[in-house]
């Protein structure tokens, strides 16, 4: 007969209902503080951390990085290409315009990726 109880783990020490348990096998990887569950099977106990907070944090960081790229790189690069296009010959100007269009398409992809990650983050169980 098994029992599952809410638990937390800090520095390798597992606590359940305020009591620190000894002889608990920690099944999760990583050394960070976590919350999760303890599974007690007869006289053996196992700790399993929740992974959703880690994934949630990771997704948030990736989205933050993408937003940074979109905001910092895209407009500046497009502006630079516009200036170049207006000060060079027709063929160079056409190349600059083409590059600018590619940047626009690239930024749209970044926006699509951010939207997809937002949806995934909201769907985390």
């Amino acid at each position: 007969m098994s029992k599952v109880l809410a638990a937390s783990c800090v520095n390798g020490k597992v606590t359940v209902e305020g009591f620190e348990l000894s002889n608990v096998e920690i099944l999760s990887e990583g050394d960070g503080a976590s919350t999760g569950v303890v599974i007690i099977d007869t006289d053996r106990a196992y700790y399993l951390a929740k992974t959703s907070p880690d994934l949630d944090t990771t997704l948030a960081k990736v989205m933050e990085a993408l937003e940074g790229i979109k905001v910092a790189v895209g407009p500046d690069l497009q502006f630079a290409l516009t200036l170049i296009g207006s000060s060079v010959g027709p063929s160079e100007g056409a190349a600059a315009a083409s590059a600018s269009a590619q940047i626009t398409a690239g930024m749209a992809s970044v926006t699509a990726a951010i939207n997809a990650l937002t949806t995934l983050k909201g769907a985390l169980k």
């Binding site: 007969m1 098994s2 029992k3 109880l5 359940v16 209902e17 009591f19 348990l21 000894s22 002889n23 608990v24 007690i40 099977d41 007869t42 006289d43 106990a45």
Partner: protein, 148 residues
């Protein structure tokens, strides 16, 4: 009424409500508590299906982290129910003797219940037994028991 003692935990299976109600009189109780398909002492109804090292099981701290039926939890912690004090005690502290007489195909006890942990002569402690409480004679007919 069927009486089942498992590792110092009691379960009673009365034939009717009146039987378990009258059984209360032997222990100066208002009522027994129903847990699933059996009745038991009010304190034993509070024993959970797990224990955490250091967390109290009724009046005593658990010495082990474990999970199982309440009687299994008590067994793994070495505790038995003490009828007189309505609490749990370590089985090692029970020093009484049980008087059982062999009568045909059962053992006769002159008390309604045998205190878990009691001994018969030089044998080990009786921790589990099953039998029938015969109300008319106020006797417990023990059909089997085990000790360690």
């Amino acid at each position: 009424m069927k009486v089942l003692c498992r590792h110092g935990h009691f379960a009673f299976y009365p034939r009717d409500a009146g039987e378990i109600f009258r059984f209360c009189d032997y222990f100066d109780l208002e009522q027994f508590k129903r847990v699933g398909d059996y009745f038991t002492f009010p304190a034993l109804a509070e024993v959970e299906n797990y224990s955490l090292l250091g967390k109290k099981i009724l009046n005593l701290p658990a010495i082990k982290t474990c999970a199982g039926h309440p009687w299994e939890v008590m067994a793994m912690n070495g505790y038995v129910y003490h009828i007189a004090s309505e609490s749990i005690l370590p089985k090692s502290t029970i020093a009484g003797r049980a008087a059982l007489f062999s009568v045909g195909d059962y053992f006769l006890s002159e008390t309604p219940l045998i205190q878990p942990g009691s001994r018969i002569d030089s044998t080990g402690q009786i921790l589990s037994y099953s039998g029938t409480f015969v109300e008319g004679y106020s006797e417990l007919h023990v059909s089997e028991f085990s000790y360690e």
